[in-house]
């Protein structure tokens, strides 16, 4: 279980997360919605271990481990996965090389035998087929020249290969047309399991038509100001985010109760 307690974070001295509370139990899918600038992506980056953000207060407990004390790579090896809003292009590193480096780093950590080239290829090709990626993407540089949709599929492919315990999807739906969205969502749904939790960060309700969350939280000014079921997302869809800001100012946030 992931338990975020009163998390504060800043970048260049500017506070972005201001006392965020959230609990995600094993197997649950939580959606985090909120207007631009509410701190959604900061939350994702802080959870993944980006050190350009300073954690200025609070704690994150993950199955008894102090998550914030671990460097990014150890979080990944322990089973945390971040699907990037803007996947990074790495010229000169082939996708195949990258995927194999990642998969084997994590398998080594878990005490599993590393894949040899043949086993790895057959595994990766099967997963690529499932997310609708052509084989040529294996031999191209990581994300270089990929379209928005191709980048996002590549993220879902990595998630499938790395088999995380906790996946954080940062606006995986942004920039996708409806077909790409459906494929990406299918990829995510296929990975839902009682052992795997997910935090799905999105600006739009649309993604939640395909990935049905157990809980929806609304983030505003770095705090969760409303939590509820799916109907909360529909409410946001109908009324926009304006009422959230108005409400948040009128009454202090009560924080999320989690699951």
């Amino acid at each position: 279980m992931l338990k975020i307690d009163n998390l504060h974070a800043a970048v260049d001295g500017k506070a972005i997360l201001n006392g965020l509370n959230l609990e995600v139990k094993d197997g649950e899918v939580h959606a985090i919605m909120g207007p631009n600038g509410s701190g959604k992506s900061t939350l994702a980056q802080v959870l993944a271990g980006r050190d350009t953000f300073q954690v200025t207060g609070g704690a994150v407990d993950w199955d008894g481990t102090d998550l914030l004390a671990l460097p990014a790579e150890e979080r990944a090896r322990a089973g945390l996965f971040l699907a990037f809003q803007y996947p990074v292009e790495i010229p000169g590193v082939s996708n195949a090389y990258f995927l194999k480096a990642a998969v084997n780093a994590i398998r080594r950590h878990r005490g599993l035998p590393e894949y040899d080239a043949m086993d790895f290829l057959s595994r990766v090709k099967a997963e690529m087929k499932a997310v609708g990626m052509r084989e040529e993407f294996l031999y191209r540089s990581v994300n270089e020249g990929f379209s928005g949709g191709e980048k996002k599929r590549n993220e879902v492919l990595q998630m499938a290969l790395l088999e995380p315990k906790l996946a954080v999807l940062d606006e995986t739906d942004s920039g996708l047309d409806i077909d790409a969205l459906r494929i990406v969502a299918e990829g995510v749904n296929r990975l839902r399991s009682p052992e795997r939790s997910m935090i799905v960060i999105t600006h739009y309700q649309r993604l939640l038509d395909y990935i049905v969350p157990d809980q929806v939280h609304v983030l505003s000014h770095g705090r969760i100001v409303r939590s509820g079921g799916r109907e909360l997302a529909l409410e946001l869809e109908e009324h926009g985010y304006g009422w959230i800001d108005a409400g948040a100012k009128a009454a202090p946030a009560t924080g999320a109760t989690g699951g």
């Binding site: 993944a48 271990g49 980006r50 350009t52 460097p71 990014a72 790579e73 979080r75 990944a76 090896r77 996965f81 971040l82 990037f84 996947p87 990074v88 292009e89 790495i90 010229p91 000169g92 590193v93 090389y97 990258f98 194999k100 480096a101 990642a102 780093a105 994590i106 950590h109 990595q158 790395l162």
Partner: protein, 436 residues
């Protein structure tokens, strides 16, 4: 006696024993060359072309042959692994041909490959034009002409093709503190060859190398220079190419060794529709210094040039790149791209990259750019979120940055060799290799 006089004295002492001593035109040129060298002296930073690489220190620099060196046969055996049996090997030890170590596979009729000393002994007229003169030469290249003790002579008759690469191996052993080699490559119309220079060896030596390439109409010449001498050597090199109509010249300069390495690379399009690729990579660490000075002269229309240089600069080292492209008024529809990108791997490392375009034609497509930067933090974080530790991620990104240059080497065995040489220089090579 000042240091310049020492070199003049060396010329006097050696003149009688240098190859071609009895060839009148050569004796004259060598004489003119040493005079030019003596008049110019070592270039200092007052000269624009040597602004970042003054050689004034050579006035007082003690040269010494290495005290010990592996047997050249051992060095050669290690080098040959990984290359095809059909490759040709012309070996030079301390600046002189070593026929006992050279391995020449059968070459097609019309292809001549021999030591320059041999050509000068038997057919000096065959090399007279290609040899060049010291007129307009920079001091180190004039010194080379005055003192060159050997080198390779390659002549490809019209339409001939050398299927396997020719390797010119220059090994510094314990016999010389200074070496001067000159390679002449004459590719007649429609001929084709790949020629690789390997520069190896140690000691506080001074080596000059001049390689002259004449590519006639539609000839294709690929030249690879792999410089990995140890860290006390001074290496001063020039590649001078001329291209007739439709000729294609590719130069790959991989500069990994030496205390100071300077490469002057120049090609000139003397006809329409020429193509040139100037591709280079340098990796410098410690207190080492490497400088590439390139010039591409688009003197005729429809020429295409691509220039890609990358540098990995570590420690207190310095990497210098100055590239110039001149597009003459007549050279319409020239297509030129020039880039130099540097990765600084330490706080004290320094890189100077100066791309220059001089365009006198009005219908051209030219682009240039240069960068000096650090490893991309976003890419580093991305790799770390995939479980790759920071050290390995840095190594991977460093390798990937440099490998893009190596991937432009078309010939498989040469590309593999260059890749392995680069990997062996970088930390973490075991992990990287496993994944390649």
């Amino acid at each position: 006696m000042n240091a310049i006089d020492t070199w003049v004295a060396r010329h006097r002492e050696r003149a009688a024993t240098l190859p071609g001593a009895a060839v009148p035109w050569l004796a004259t040129r060598r004489h003119d060359a040493i005079e030019r060298f003596a008049a110019l002296g070592w270039p200092t930073s007052r000269l624009e072309a040597w602004r970042h690489t003054s050689l004034a220190f050579l006035e007082q620099h003690e040269l010494a042959a290495p005290e010990a060196a592996p047997h050249p046969a051992t060095t050669l055996a290690a080098l040959r692994t990984g290359f095809d049996d059909g490759d040709h090997w012309l070996v030079f030890v301390d600046g002189r041909a070593e026929p006992a170590l050279s391995v020449m596979a059968a070459v097609p009729a019309g292809v001549t490959i021999c030591a320059l000393s041999e050509a000068l002994a038997h057919r000096p007229e065959a090399v007279e034009t290609a040899f060049g003169t010291a007129r307009d030469a920079a001091a180190p290249h004039a010194l080379n002409l005055a003192l060159c003790s050997d080198g390779a002579f390659v002549h490809l008759a019209r339409g001939t093709a050398l299927e396997h690469p020719l390797h010119l191996v220059f090994i510094g052993a314990t016999g010389a503190a200074d070496t001067h080699v000159r390679n002449l490559i004459v590719a007649e119309a429609g001929s084709e060859a790949s020629i690789v220079e390997h520069h190896l060896g140690g000691g506080a030596t001074l080596g000059t190398v001049v390689t002259r390439v004449q590519a006639a109409q539609d000839a294709r010449v690929t030249h690879v220079k792999l410089q990995r001498q140890d860290e006390r050597a001074i290496h001063l090199a020039q590649i001078e190419a001329s291209q007739a109509r439709g000729a294609h010249v590719a130069s790959h300069s991989l500069s990994f060794g030496a205390r100071l390495a300077r490469n002057d690379i120049h090609t000139r399009f003397d006809g329409e529709g020429c193509e040139a690729l100037l591709n280079g990579l340098y990796h410098v660490d410690g207190r080492r210094h490497v400088d590439h000075h390139t010039l591409i002269e688009h003197a005729h229309p429809l020429g295409t040039s691509r220039e890609h240089y990358r540098g990995l600069v570590d420690g207190n080292a310095r990497g210098v790149f100055a590239g110039r492209i001149i597009v003459a008024q007549d050279a319409q529809r020239t297509d030129a791209i020039q880039r130099c990108d540097n990765l600084l791997l330490s706080k004290l490392a320094e890189a100077d990259a100066r791309p220059e375009l001089e365009i006198y034609a009005d219908d051209v497509k030219c682009a240039h750019g240069a960068t000096v930067g650090q490893i991309d933090e976003d890419a580093l974080f991305y790799l770390r979120t995939r479980g790759v530790d920071e050290t390995h991620a840095r190594q991977l990104l460093t390798y990937a940055f440099a490998a893009e240059v190596i991937e432009r080497i078309a010939q498989d065995s040469l590309r593999r060799h260059a890749r392995a040489t680069l990997l062996a220089r970088l930390p973490g090579s075991a992990l990287l290799e496993e994944l390649l």
